[in-house]
Symmetry: C2
Subunit: 209 residues, 2 copies
């Protein structure tokens, strides 16, 4: 259903562009979807599931319809590490990922609900350190709520972790059984953005934060 | 009272050190405080009152008893700036301060109470970005709750903003009337740490975060 909608919209937009250029919409110009280059350019997307001591990361290449895994992992700080040590390790690791893989876009989890203000400050602290690094690297950064990621990747917002992992495995054609949950969640974030970019020429995308 | 306690403690510590070295505590060894170099070395302290769009900063030099102002100001991001822009400006400005003034220690506000989890995440985000920069610069960073700052600087935890400003002005021998509140708060944070360093050879200091 989503692909059908996208194809219709593509045809409308192509006809509209042709009209704007003063061309009469010929049968060729009017032909929907398949023959018109509607896919966004290939992009490398870095997904980050941020937490103070366990930040998952996942990188994929995508043109909005095809998705290829690049690499993934988890940045771990030991329980006895001080806050400053955790943030130093987190920032250094993310800078390392940016230098090594040259992503075009970053995606982080956001809009989560947190009852406890103290927990929220700790979560916010990790998030702030990571966002600071992404901002310095001038990487356009998008934010998606966990529910949105599940809706886009699985089709429904109440999907379980296992269901998300299953869909990530299918889309990227990888085995996720041996991957840590945080890495799978980061790949799901990247996949969510990649899929939204491919729908209606990215018209559904929000603004970078 | 505080000075008296410190002098007593200094005398006890000096006698204890002499005993440890096998020396009999002579009248000279036993002489309290005044003749024993008890002051910590001169340190440059950077106080930071962090917020997303308005971060106050204040730098002082201190040996724990004498306090000299160096500089202060506010890092401001316009209301229409995106989150990434705010963090880029914040991180860049703090890196600039570190490069220009070479502080030995940083002090930030912490342990504040925040009812609203959403506000807590925003506050935590700014705090995380700043802490990330301080951690990367390997600056030992201390954290004090607003109440603690008021207790140390003013003598009581319920002091008003005006009372804090008055004491900051007296200790640093400056006019604070024309200074922004955020800069005064940042100077108060630095002053709080400087004063704690001067009491009982810094035994009251916590660990860096």
């Amino acid at each position: 259903m989503r692909v059908k909608k996208s194809a219709q919209l593509d045809a409308i937009l192509a006809a509209s562009a042709a009209r704007a250029q003063g061309k009469k919409p010929t049968a060729k110009n009017n032909r929907p979807a398949q023959s018109i280059p509607t896919l966004p350019p290939q992009q490398r997307i870095l997904g980050l599931d941020t937490a103070l001591r366990k930040t998952g990361w996942g990188i994929i290449d995508s043109n909005g319809r095809n998705f290829a895994p690049v690499d993934c992992g988890v940045i771990i700080s030991p329980a006895q590490a001080s806050l400053s040590d955790c943030l130093r390790r987190l920032n250094g690791s993310i800078k390392g990922l940016i230098t090594r893989y040259h992503p075009d876009i970053a995606v982080i989890e956001g809009g989560f609900y947190c009852k406890n203000a103290r927990t929220a400050i700790v979560l916010g602290t990790a998030r702030g350190a990571v966002l600071g690094v992404l901002a310095e690297a001038e990487l356009p950064t998008y934010e998606y709520a966990p529910r949105k990621v599940k809706q886009v990747v699985c089709g429904f917002g109440n999907a379980s972790k296992q269901q998300v992992a299953l869909l990530v495995a299918q889309f990227l054609n990888i085995q996720v059984a041996n991957l840590p949950d945080d890495a799978t969640d980061a790949l799901a974030l990247a996949l969510c953005h990649a899929q939204l970019s491919g729908i209606a020429q990215g018209l559904n995308l929000g603004k970078p934060i």
